[in-house]
Symmetry: C3
Subunit: 208 residues, 3 copies
């Protein structure tokens, strides 16, 4: 039940952040473009997770409340966009809360489908980031997962902590809360202090 409402909340936040992602692009989007990027951002990661798991029916196909959450986020986008956009930090927070929730939901659903913990962690990451990846590809941006600050790695850290806590029989609500908070905190701190992973040194780049 907790996970059900968390899912709707994640969908709502992802739609908000996705709908507004186009605002920095040179070419303006019309209403359809804005809604489409919001929709893809919201359902992309979970849909890919469900398809890889073979977890049919896909959640947004079966559960009308997911489409309602998306429509609700569109309405909020339209009526409060001037307010929302002023707060650049708020936009960033929407996405951060979204990936926090979605990583843990993805791990949880994968474990329910008897997937091994390593694959479950990867599927948690995919749930969280792939909606944004598809959105960024559609609007021809370098995907946010390749951004300088720590992003995907925060999701992986949270997923590892979640799986570990479950292994030690921590209550799943507690484990979920702690690991979601961890993802959100890592992401916020890394953006605030511009922390990034070490670069992968390809050497002197001479070409033979």
């Amino acid at each position: 039940m907790l996970f059900y409402y968390l899912n709707l909340t994640g969908i709502f936040f992802f739609t908000l952040s996705g709908s507004l992602a186009a605002r920095d692009k040179k070419y303006y989007h019309d209403y359809f473009g804005v809604f489409f990027t919001g929709f893809i951002t919201a359902i992309g990661g979970g849909t890919l997770r469900d398809i890889i798991l073979g977890a049919y029916p896909i959640s947004w196909i079966e559960d009308g409340n997911i489409l309602l959450s998306i429509i609700g986020a569109f309405v909020v986008t339209i009526f409060f966009k001037n307010y929302i956009i002023k707060l650049r930090r708020t936009l960033f927070l929407f996405d951060t809360v979204g990936i926090g929730i979605y990583t843990i939901l993805g791990v949880q659903k994968s474990l329910e489908h008897h997937v091994n913990p390593f694959a479950a962690i990867i599927l948690g990451l995919i749930s969280a980031v792939f909606g944004g990846v598809i959105r960024d590809i559609l609007i021809n941006e370098i995907p946010l997962i390749f951004a300088k600050e720590i992003y995907a790695t925060a999701c992986i850290a949270g997923a590892v902590v979640y799986v570990t806590m479950l292994y030690f029989n921590v209550d799943s609500s507690v484990a979920a809360s702690v690991s979601m908070a961890l993802i959100i905190i890592i992401r916020i701190i890394s953006v605030k202090y511009k922390l990034s992973l070490p670069k992968f040194d390809f050497g002197n780049e001479t070409k033979d």
Copy 2:
């Protein structure tokens, strides 16, 4: 039966429009590149629809006639390309007929899989436009669905009309014909008169 032949017709038209989409790109494509973009355009949307529905086996895997339609369109492309390319409008028409047919086929197949009408409308849209979306991503174009003129919205309008007519017990052949015609007419009119959806106003774009 009607829907079966419509499917083959849609596949044929999508292959034609997809094969020729590369002609405006700076780098020339070889025969494989042209065929591959045609193939992806033709089967991309329907494949994604079937995967999301879990409607296995995927149609082109099971039904050899679909691959034959694609091969037929390739043969036509090779032998009549000079004739076809001269008629820019004809290329546009191929795509327009394709999305008209594929939207309604997608809605119909989704309803047969007991999907709710709202999800069925979205799946109709996905069927129609995602082959082209994948093609445009592959050749690094801004996807046509973000084009200025009305495109995806025409599909949505046709899908809504189709679902509504079925709800009022209109015969499915009649409903399909009317709503396909509607999609094609909206698209043609919007291109002819350069009609577009209202832009989504992101405000004064100041960045805090």
Copy 3:
């Protein structure tokens, strides 16, 4: 059994070539970026093949050895990257061996799922090239399948030979070895002698 170890070998080589694909990009990748592109390159094609076939569970979800092969390739990448990168030819060979193995594995798995030979050949091609296609889209490169030299066509040739040999009751290990070798040889020769498919002549490119 042969096919099982070939799969792990293909995964290993694809991860190596994928991890190192980012080195020529202007923006440097961090450790996550390098590993993510390696992972996607390794599992992308096979995952798409399994999803289209409906062959659940997807292999890397079920078989932990696949994730171990990927991790092994990451370790090799980190410790031997200076050595590997110096040998540009070696990188090219990794990818070539990968597509050789994966094409035939893809055809084989498709035939086991009772797919007709034509669809099996297409699925063999998809298995081999789509991991790289997704990687190239992620790092915003023109997909390698559109490269000047013969690439995808080598896979198709090998797949056709494999299906034909099976049809004439050649032992599957022999058929697999011959057709993998064929793919690798065609690819090497076409790069060495800069062979390419004939360009598709779009005519005089005048726009009406």
